[in-house]
Amino acid sequence: MKKLIITLALPLIFGSVNGQKGLEIAKAADKADIGWGSSTVELNMSLKNKNGQTSSRSMSNKTLEMKDDGDKSMITFNSPADVKGTATLTYTHREGPDDQWLYLPAIARVKRISSSNKSGPFMGSEFAYEDLSSQEVEKYTYKFIEQKGSMLIVEQIPTDPKSGYTKRIVTYNKDKGYRIENTEFYDRKGSHLKTLKFTDYEQYLGKYWRASTMTMVNHQSNKETRLVFKDYKFGLKLTDEDFSQNALKRAGN
């Protein structure tokens, strides 16, 4: 009887130990990225379909780190030309749905939009909205898988049932401030859907790692989206006032 209990309990114990370790890694990564304040960056997104045809979008991104909640961010489109000046404002929350507003310059309208459709593609790209939103520790449960040198591999299961994924396999680099080197995404059926690679890392303010290139490959459709980040700026002292609905209307200026 004792033997049976041990046999049954072993995976549970290991399960929780690995769960604890996975959570600790996610927390360590989160902690390593505390204190950057606010930043701005220019993005270029290039979309490649399975025949190799490409199209591109460019946008500006502003982010404000929040102490007790998820980050605030504003994305302004510069191209394609027909959506120039269109902007989104997102207040991410550690728990509960994010608040999101869209500004449509043609009719000068600010529209509150639902943030529940997170699995949909962002601007026709291979990035889903949830891939681009601020990564909060509370949004996943964790399981440590293995360590390969300085690489820590952790399985993450989204807590939100509306996520488009059953799990993500994330590779953290322990020696480089727990930065993420790549992420594998598994769809609702459990099949390997996409791989995201973070490359051309640079360190800012002597501490914070930011990838200059993010490449998302969809293994099922053979489409690819590459995000190139340019002109990262930190220490701009942005405040809540730069992330208001008035600021959203000014975003295209």
Binding site: N49, S114, E241
Partner: protein, 401 residues
């Protein structure tokens, strides 16, 4: 026309005084942005014209350049956005300064001086609380195109919401379609056919106030406008109808509650004037089935109830109507979208069905299609009945620079 020139001169003067002040105090780094939008459009009305002079085919073209100069990290900005449309109909051939303003933002406040566009409200089928700008009624069927409104706007963000104050020194009259045009009354309404019920006419000094706040799932707005009503008041006389501009006081409320994929929306106004008091309401919901096919297809359903206590004399003809519709977005590389809908009269047979579609072509072109079908318009419908043969199809091609 002279009055228009005076106000434009005054606005320009204000703009340039703004430039010189701002340049003294801030860094000299000015960034210039230029945008240009060209549109070729074709409208086809497939039913026989009811009134003499009306055409059925309307080729048209429009140009919208936009220039923005910003400095002080974008906290100071000057925007100039003229608009010109050429059309078969003389009244639809028109020029407007959509925007021409200087804006300064600092910390939690913002000031704008000049011609600008302001949008208020949440519902999709009617825009009741939206009152700052005059509607460019010859430009589009859905009344979403607006004329530039001269204003001084002060906006302040606080912990208890955003407060906006508007001083609106000059009123822009609404233009109605000309002789060759469809969607008009049997008699062409010239600009001065709509008489002012106050002595100061266009120069009545108007004021508006708005409070808006976002608390969790709630987006709330409360507004009050005192000044010349943007929408002419229609009164019946023994021969037909009279149109008046009157000084009104309008109080508006708009609420949106965002819960998961549900958007619940309410707009309501109470308007009073010497000639007419009125109450109107629009409310409903939008629900989106997101990413239904795993490839990004979003299917939204919309339903709104519309009430207007003016009944037959409501220009919108939405006195007791239900709007239902569906928004379909493919979220593909070309941003392909459809919006189909119908406005169904609860008391009469009249329906208006509509389809709007748009798709990007290449990196800098866009194609849009629109259809509005007026079906079984009841002859007891005093305004809409005049337009009963004016169902149309429209195709537009846009090029952006």
């Amino acid at each position: 026309m002279k009055l228009k020139h005076i106000i434009l001169g005054a606005v320009l003067l204000l703009l340039f005084s703004g430039i010189s002040n701002a340049q003294e105090e801030s860094e000299k780094l000015v960034s210039h942005k230029f945008k240009l939008e060209l549109e070729a459009e074709y409208r086809y009305f497939y039913d026989k014209a009811l009134y003499p002079g009306q055409k059925s085919n309307f080729p048209s073209a429009a140009i919208t350049p936009e220039y923005t100069a910003s400095w002080n990290k974008g906290y100071d900005v000057i925007t100039v956005k003229p608009f010109f449309r050429w059309d078969v109909d003389d009244k639809r051939t028109h020029f407007d300064l959509r925007e021409l303003y200087y804006q300064k933002a600092k910390n939690n406040w913002e000031v704008s001086v000049g011609l600008k566009k302001i949008y208020w409200g949440v519902t999709e089928s009617q825009h009741l609380v939206d009152i700052i700008n005059q509607t460019d009624a010859v430009e589009s069927f859905d009344n979403e195109q607006k004329l530039g409104q001269p204003m001084v706007q002060y906006s302040r963000n606080t912990n208890i919401g955003t407060f906006d104050l508007f001083y609106l020194p000059y009123f822009r009259i609404r233009s109605f379609p000309g002789e060759k045009s469809r969607l008009r009354f049997p008699v062409v309404i010239e600009d001065d056919d709509v008489t002012f019920n106050n002595k100061s006419e266009e120069w009545h000094q108007d004021f508006a106030f708005r409070w808006s706040h976002s608390i969790g799932a709630f987006d709330l707005g409360f507004s009050n406008f005192y000044g010349t009503g943007r929408e002419p008041i229609i009164l019946q006389n023994q021969f037909g109808y009279d149109f008046f501009y009157d000084v009104i006081n309008q109080t508006g409320v708009d609420v949106q509650v965002t819960l998961g994929a549900f958007l619940w929306k309410i707009e309501s106004i109470y308007r009073s004037s010497d000639l007419q008091d009125m109450f109107a309401f629009a409310g409903g919901l939008e629900y989106t089935f997101g990413n239904v096919d795993g490839n990004g297809l979003d299917i939204g359903i919309l339903g709104e109830y519309l009430y207007d206590d003016r009944g037959d004399l409501a220009l919108s003809s939405a006195q007791n109507d239900v709007f239902f519709g569906s928004r379909i977005a493919f979220n593909d590389v070309q941003s392909t979208e459809f919006l189909i809908g119908g406005l169904v009269d609860m008391e009469r047979s009249s329906n208006i069905f509509s389809l709007e579609a748009s798709r990007r072509v290449g990196e800098s072109w866009r194609v849009e299609a629109e259809g509005r079908i007026l079906s079984e318009v009841s002859n007891t419908e005093p305004i809409l009945y005049f337009f009963r043969n004016d169902s149309f199809l429209k195709l537009s091609v846009f090029k952006f620079f």
